[in-house]
């Protein structure tokens, strides 16, 4: 019944490169407030709402020695009372406005996300300001939220992904803040009090590390003063950022015993910083090797051909203070050794031979064609605009990015593959009871 299908598909493929990139173009404008705070704005008045995404660089990497988890706990407490509102009064005020706020701490940032109705935008902004600038950190709230974090940390003790990730970072970044998980450990979190949380607030939320994206039913004229109201009272500077570290991945394979039927494997080695000129070729290479889901070499070899896993993937993790190239999969304890062998072969093969012309063309078609999918919806656009800023990219990047992908050649990929992929240093943490897998440390 679908004779015409292939002809149709072929026609679309030919037309693709010419049509899609042009349609990605959107107008983003930088808006600087009277007080000197800059945000990237994309106006769209279709829906009476405003989305705001902000990032304070630094995040849990700013945790002082012995206080791992301080920035995370502080971030979780931002919505637990501020100014003259206690935790319940704050939550009720937010619900009365129907505003949505979220605050998240990661290794590299404290991220703030807000969605607000046009009809009460000013009041919503004032409440968000109170959370960021005047958090109370009441003893009751500190104890309660600390208990929630500790509960998560206890559960993590037998969670194979948490165990694997912690072990990997501990090995890759000895002596660096990245070695510890963003939410801390049971020992460090137990000691965090309101004073430690206040210090984390003072260290992490400052104007010298702030990036902002705003999308929706607002124009530049209104946004400028609003930025000052929201962020103007934060301190100018925060704590010094940590040094950039070179990952110490020595090519070991660790086995951590856990009574589970399927072994979880986290693997990786040094990656490439986001501002490296080879980042885009590396990104395309990763898509072909393991980043691209269905169609990637690793998914094809490990899942599709052999049914050894439900999912295997890789990703570039260009942290601000240390860059990794990482991946993850899980296979039944009796089959994980075979999957590990294939992974090692594919790593070496890509390092030696790079990609074929057909693979490169497929990857470009997908990556350039799919780029506009990241821009449908205010919240999605706001996330993209913030992501561009945190990556240190120019405001015009959104309209140039597909050209950068198109320009990648097989030679570029061969060069970055040789440079980044390092089978000797590829480091594994296996959690489970793997059969036929020899630990090397």
């Amino acid at each position: 019944m679908t004779r015409i299908l292939h002809a149709l598909a072929a026609a679309f493929l030919l037309a693709l490169a010419a049509t899609l990139p042009a349609r990605a173009a959107i107008d983003i404008v930088p808006v600087t407030s009277p007080g000197g705070i800059t945000a990237w704005l994309y106006e769209d008045h279709t829906i009476p709402m405003v989305s705001l995404e902000a990032s304070f660089r630094g995040g849990s990497a700013l945790d002082p020695e012995g206080q791992a988890g301080a920035v995370n706990l502080m971030t979780a407490l931002l919505e637990e009372g501020s100014g003259d509102l206690d935790a319940t009064a704050f939550a009720q005020a937010r619900d009365d406005l129907a505003a949505g706020f979220s605050f998240d701490a990661g290794r590299d940032e404290v991220a703030v996300s807000a969605r607000m109705l046009s009809e009460n935008l000013d009041a919503s902004v004032d409440l968000l300001r109170a959370a960021l600038v005047e958090p109370r950190f009441d003893a009751e709230a500190v104890a309660r939220v600390r208990g929630q974090v500790a509960s998560i940390l206890r559960s993590d003790e037998t969670d194979p992904d948490a165990i694997a990730s912690r072990a990997f970072y501990a090995e890759a970044f000895p002596g660096h803040p990245y070695a510890l998980p963003p939410d801390g450990t049971l020992a460090t979190v137990a000691d965090l009090d309101a004073e430690a949380v206040r210090a984390a607030h003072r260290a992490a939320l400052a104007k010298d590390r702030l990036m902002i994206a705003v999308v929706g039913d607002i124009d530049a004229e209104r946004l400028g003063p609003l930025l000052d109201r929201l962020f103007g009272d934060l301190p100018e500077t925060g704590a010094p950022l940590p040094e950039v570290a070179e990952p110490a991945t020595a090519g070991t394979l660790s086995v951590i015993d856990l009574g589970i039927p399927q072994s979880v494997v986290v693997f990786g080695h040094a990656g490439i910083p986001r501002d490296d000129p080879d980042f885009i070729p590396a990104f395309v290479m990763d898509h072909i090797l393991g980043g691209g889901g269905f169609g990637s070499r690793l998914t094809e070899e490990v899942r599709e051909k052999r049914g050894l896993t439900y999912g295997i993937y890789t990703y570039l993790a260009p942290g601000d203070f240390g860059a990794l190239y990482m991946g993850r999969f899980s296979s039944a304890n009796g089959r994980v050794a075979e999957a590990l062998g294939i992974l090692r072969e594919e790593w070496a093969l890509m390092a030696e031979e790079g990609v074929t012309e057909a693979e490169l063309e497929d990857a470009k078609r997908y990556l350039t064609g799919a780029y506009p999918l990241r821009f449908d919806g205010n919240e999605r656009i706001a996330g993209q605009l913030l992501g561009l800023q945190t990556a240190g990219l120019d405001i015009d990047y959104v309209n140039e990015r597909n050209d950068l992908v198109e320009a990648v050649t097989r030679e570029d990929i061969a060069r970055v593959a040789r440079r980044i992929l390092d089978p000797e240093h590829l480091t594994f943490v296996v959690v489970g009871r793997p059969e036929g897998v020899q630990a090397t440390n």
Binding site: M1, T2, I4, L5, L8, A9, F12, L13, L16, T19, L20, T46, I47, E80, A87, T88, A91, R94, A98, L117, R144, G147, Q148, S151, R154, T158, D159, P160, I256, D257, L258, G259, I260, P261, Q262, V264, F294, G295, E304, R306, G307, L308, T309, Y310, G311, S330, A332, D362, R365, Y366, T368, G369, A370, Y371, P372, L373, F375, D376, G377, E379
Partner: protein, 447 residues
């Protein structure tokens, strides 16, 4: 939908043309139902094809087959080679995937709007022309068994959830896991999968949902072209599953696993779902879940268990409102380290009894309604969510009239209706109370 129409009237003074965000629909002569949500903000479209078949429609002994077939739908057809479906989508800059529940199986693509013709043609192709081959079937069986290990067996919470379902539904097939029991998954083969496919995949058992930068008339034209030639199947009948008998005994589970570091208690009550033309009790239960244990610390459970009395680290409620057959209302309490599960459960019992006696705080009810109203605006920003929402509603037997009536029904819920719904559902013999614990004697699980 009402809100979008109101906005259009305010903006343009005319309702002659459908507004962005409105739901438009058509039905083809072969029974395929089409739904279109236009949104012209970005040149992107989401296509979803929903089949009214899920794990509750499986034959006993073949648990997981509906989900397994979902995986096989990405294999070969008479036209496309194994994996080619997703490769063509990717080569056109699109993403695709699928998911399966107790009551439906859905396939979707997100792609540039001018590629709708292409992906619709491919969906029409695999509606009746799947031909995966025995080898691909066996290899994919290994994949879904790994999926079960990953999402269920590696996580004591996953195993615990399976036991709770099985106890809540002891006659209805909702008691079986969607992914399937491992010993039954091991027996899957091409013959079983294809028999299931032929029994359930047909235009008169499908709903096409298209959302994004498209015109409804053009979507209907494309649907006629691609799906129109596929004949209706006479194998599609009403969805009649074994129903639960009256539940007469309060049921209790103790689940112990050496991996459990954080004990908790849950309770699930058998509860009515949104029924076509009859959604009022469900609306009251929806509001009840928000009041009792919705997100944040303003809920009754958070206020009484986490703040004032301080026995819980976390507590919440949820209500599964959508399904072909009756669903469940659920609560959980995670006690503080120095609080026993028994004590946490006692506090929960006291709280529920008080709520049933006193009903909700009217001011808090108004807050919940404000949030629900605002979500209707925020939801317009997320087209995939809208498509998914309306698809799940239609695939479980609700009509577009029910879908459009639901927001107003939520706003009309009274305090007394909430109280009455709680009283009707919170009966001991209607409930399964489940304790998640570590073994009494410590076993070594590593670490």
């Amino acid at each position: 939908m009402r809100l979008a129409i109101a906005l259009l009237l305010a903006a343009a003074g005319s309702a002659a043309r459908a507004a962005d965000g409105d739901i438009q629909s058509f039905t083809l002569p072969n029974g395929l139902q089409g739904v279109v949500i236009e949104d012209h903000r970005a040149p992107v479209v989401t296509q979803m094809v929903w089949y009214r078949v899920g794990s509750a429609d499986e034959t006993p002994g073949e648990s997981g087959l509906a989900h397994f077939l979902e995986h096989l739908m990405f294999k070969a057809t008479d036209e496309l080679a194994d994996g080619e479906f997703s490769k063509i989508v990717a080569a056109n800059g699109g993403d695709d995937n699928a998911f399966t529940s107790t009551d439906y199986t859905a396939y979707f693509q997100r792609i540039a709007a001018d590629r709708l013709d292409l992906v619709m043609g491919m969906e029409a192709d695999r509606m009746t022309d799947l031909d995966p081959g025995a080898e691909a079937v066996l290899s994919e069986r290994d994949v879904v068994m790994e999926e079960r290990r990953q999402v269920v067996e590696n996580d004591p919470g996953g195993l615990f959830a399976e036991e709770r379902r099985a106890a809540l539904y002891y006659n209805h097939p909702y008691g079986r896991p969607v992914i399937g029991w491992m010993h039954e998954m091991e027996q899957f083969d091409e013959e079983k999968a294809m028999a299931f496919y032929r029994a359930h995949y047909a235009p008169n058992n499908a709903i096409l949902v298209v959302a994004g930068d498209v015109e409804a008339a053009e979507v209907e034209r494309l649907a006629r072209e691609h799906f129109g030639p596929i004949p209706a199947s006479d194998a599609i009948g009403p969805r009649i599953r074994p129903q639960e008998p009256p539940h007469r005994a309060a049921r209790r589970l103790e689940f112990r696993d050496p991996r459990v570091r954080q004990p908790y208690v849950t309770r699930s009550w058998f509860a009515p779902q949104r029924r076509p033309g009859d959604q009022r009790e469900a609306a009251a239960l929806y509001v009840l879940a928000e009041l009792l244990g919705g997100p944040g610390i303003t809920s009754v459970m958070a206020q009484e268990l986490q703040l004032a009395e301080g026995v819980a680290i976390d507590a919440g409620a949820s209500y599964a409102d959508t399904g072909v057959d009756p669903q469940s209302f659920n609560v959980y309490v995670v006690p503080k380290p120095d609080v026993s599960l028994a004590e946490a459960e006692e506090r929960l019992d006291a709280l529920l009894a008080r709520f049933v006696a006193e009903g909700p705080d009217p001011q808090q009810l108004e807050r919940i309604k404000t949030r629900i109203r605002a979500d209707r605006i925020f939801d317009r920003d997320n087209l995939q969510y809208r498509a998914r929402q309306v698809g799940s509603e239609l695939a479980t037997g609700l009509t577009l009239e029910d879908v459009e009536a639901w927001p107003d029904l939520l706003q009309a819920v009274t305090p007394e209706e909430v109280r009455a719904a709680a009283q009707a559902v919170f009966r001991p013999e209607n409930a399964v109370t489940s304790l998640m614990m570590a073994p009494e004697t410590v076993e070594v699980v590593g670490q």
